[in-house]
């Protein structure tokens, strides 16, 4: 069991900077997710933790032991790869046994044929087979032990890859998009299974994904990365509720947060698309701001009332339980999306104008630099937007 610490880790490929100073403290036994769009440096971070790639500057510590110059195999970590990376010429059982053979048998004992002559090898091999079998039983892959990876389905390979990571009882598991090659329903199933595995093993999990649903459902804490920066680190609900950066706000949540253009005056009062909002800037500063509102915090009004946003309905997306209304709004670049219950918006027809209000206390405002700005409490004197 181990905690992992990254201090000011950077990575450059030639002149291309891929990681710009990552600081990360992963607690012992934690399920931490690294999430971010493709190419943001998640895999690179994971490979640096694993030791498969050397950082350009900065330190990696495992349980307060500096491991910058420690080999991958000596870091006591296990990795599950996106492609599973099973040895195709070995059976499932041999795949499971490989990490143990490498660790427990010495050079002579691993030699083909000659190895059998080394005293004590039999006992060691019996122990290794026993350990591999236990893991296979835990993962319910005993019937597959004699097969080769080529004869397994995607989900079965996934399990074998997990098993190969588990046999050594590593201090921490590193997983690089382990579910992305599975079909949708299996992925949902494996999510639950991985969470359960994490609870059972109590080991540290560092999990890389670009799928925010995986990050939100499985992790104790999630780290949102973008363009080589760690933008925000926190529990999933905190990241969802309180994004500290407009890029985080837009990346987490589906459909994504609506961003409306706004302007604040010298008193801190914010106007957005001609409406005055009920919250103002805590530290007034005149200038442009971006007002973020999640689709579920917008409520459709049956008829036009005062202080309402409006937009032309272009598309109704029906998901059964929910309905997403896509609205074209004057002065807003992207279409705004409202989440509603189907029966609430029967009257709205595509092509017509729809009026809606924002729930009080739900808006998140970002400055021109993309950072969150604090707001005052809702003010009844200011008008409700």
């Amino acid at each position: 069991m181990a905690g992992i610490t990254l201090r000011q880790v950077t990575k450059k490929y030639g002149t291309l900077s891929v990681l710009n100073g990552i600081d990360l403290d992963i607690a012992d036994g934690e399920f931490l997710t690294l999430v971010g769009p493709s190419g943001c440096g998640k895999s690179t971070t994971l490979r640096i933790i694993a030791g498969l790639e050397a950082q350009s500057t900065g330190d990696v510590k495992i349980d307060d032991r500096l491991v910058n110059d420690v080999r991958p195999s000596q870091r006591d970590l296990a990795m599950v790869f996106q492609s599973y990376a099973l040895y195709p010429h070995l059976t499932v059982q041999q795949n499971l046994m490989t990490p143990l053979r490498m660790r427990d048998l010495n050079f002579w004992e691993r030699l083909p044929l000659l190895g059998f002559l080394v005293p004590g090898r039999r006992a060691k091999m019996a122990q290794i087979e026993e350990d591999a079998r236990k893991v296979a039983e835990a993962l319910k892959i005993v019937p597959l032990l004699g097969r080769k990876p080529g004869q397994l389905s995607g989900g079965q390979r996934q399990r074998v890859a997990l098993g190969r990571a588990m046999v050594r009882n590593p201090a921490a598991f590193l997983m690089d998009e382990p579910l992305s090659n599975l079909d949708a329903s299996l992925r949902v199933h494996m999510r639950a299974e991985l969470s359960e595995l994490h609870r059972d093993l109590g080991a540290t999990f560092v999990y890389v994904t670009h799928d925010q649903a995986e990050a939100l459902t499985m992790s104790d804490r999630m780290a949102v990365m973008m363009d080589g920066d760690l933008l925000q680190l926190g529990p999933p609900d905190e990241v969802y509720e309180d994004p500290q950066d407009i890029r985080v706000a837009e990346f987490i949540g589906s459909p994504k947060m609506n961003i409306l253009p706004g302007e604040s005056d010298a008193n801190g009062t914010i106007t957005c698309l001609g409406l005055t909002l009920d919250e103002g800037l805590a530290t007034p500063q005149p200038g442009k701001v971006s007002v973020g509102l999640r689709p579920e915090h917008l409520h459709v009004q049956p008829r036009e009332t005062a202080e309402c946003f409006s937009g032309r309905l272009t598309y109704k997306e029906n998901l059964g339980s929910d309905l997403f209304l896509h609205l074209e709004m004057a002065g807003v670049e992207n279409k705004a999306v409202i989440r509603a219950k189907p029966h609430e918006v029967d009257f709205a027809a595509v092509g017509e104008t729809v009026w809606f209000k924002a729930e009080s206390g739900r808006m998140r405002v970002f400055g021109t630099d993309g950072k969150r700005v604090a707001l005052t409490a809702p003010d009844t004197k200011r008008k409700v937007g």
Binding site: R47, S73, A78, L86, Y87, H89, L90, P99, R164
Partner: protein, 317 residues
Amino acid sequence: MGRNRAHIWFVGPAVLLMIVLLILPVFVAAALSFTDYSLGNSSFDWVGTKNYDALFSRSSYAKMFSASLTYVLLVVPISVALGLGSALLISSLRIGGELYKAVFFLPVMATLLAMAIVWEFALHPIVGIVNDVLSAGCDIGWLHALLSGSWLGRDPLSSWYGDGCADSFPLWLGDKDYALGTIAFIGIWQGFGFNMVLYLAGLTSVPRELYQAAQMDGADSAWERFKLVTWPMLGPTNVFVITISSIRSFQVFDTVEALTRGGPSKSTYVMIYAMFEKGVKQNLLGIGSAITIIFLGFVLILTLIQVYFVNRKVHYG
């Protein structure tokens, strides 16, 4: 019915060409191998298995089989090992790999006949650079001591090099003990670059994640990773390279024709050269065809072995 004949017009020409150009010649050769036909003769006699009896009883043909097999057994393992080794080294280079690739591939691209002439000069017993260099070393005391083993206290004359210095260095292509080895050396020199290119292609298809998995699993040294990942993953390439090298080695002809013409005393009398000599130069088509059929038999066996391995052993699907 007329409409149903259409397929014949689609398939027919291709099948006809295949039969006329590829299959028929083999059958003609097989038929000729049971005759005493010579080109230009108006008739021939069936002689049964006389040609084959000759092949398996006369000592010159025993020498032919032995020369061909020795050549194959020398050239295949060494050129395959060199090809794999150089491919591994080149693929681990950060810079300069392209240069090495080009240099090692040069002999493959060069015309072997032209290169053979260069080798003939280099290996000339009197004016050749090889023996010049060897005998120049005799006059350098420490080099002579090192190479002849006299620094270990051994009698210099008992070693190959010391003996060469005292007496003379080999005639290479003119010595029946050295000629085949020398031809094999040229074959290796010429062929390993081709194997290297095949191995380089094979290496690029090994997934990088497998190496990383091996590293995580504790395969710390390059040798361990080679054993765990590279060698098994190169299985299909190995089979292909070994088969191709074997067939190419069985087919060796141009160096023999240019440098030794099968001699001295038939020490380099390889199969294709024998085929050429009998069938073309001496116009004994019967015996030439018999050699051809035996040769095809060898190639067929090699191909079948390859098919067996490719299907059973090295494809992990």
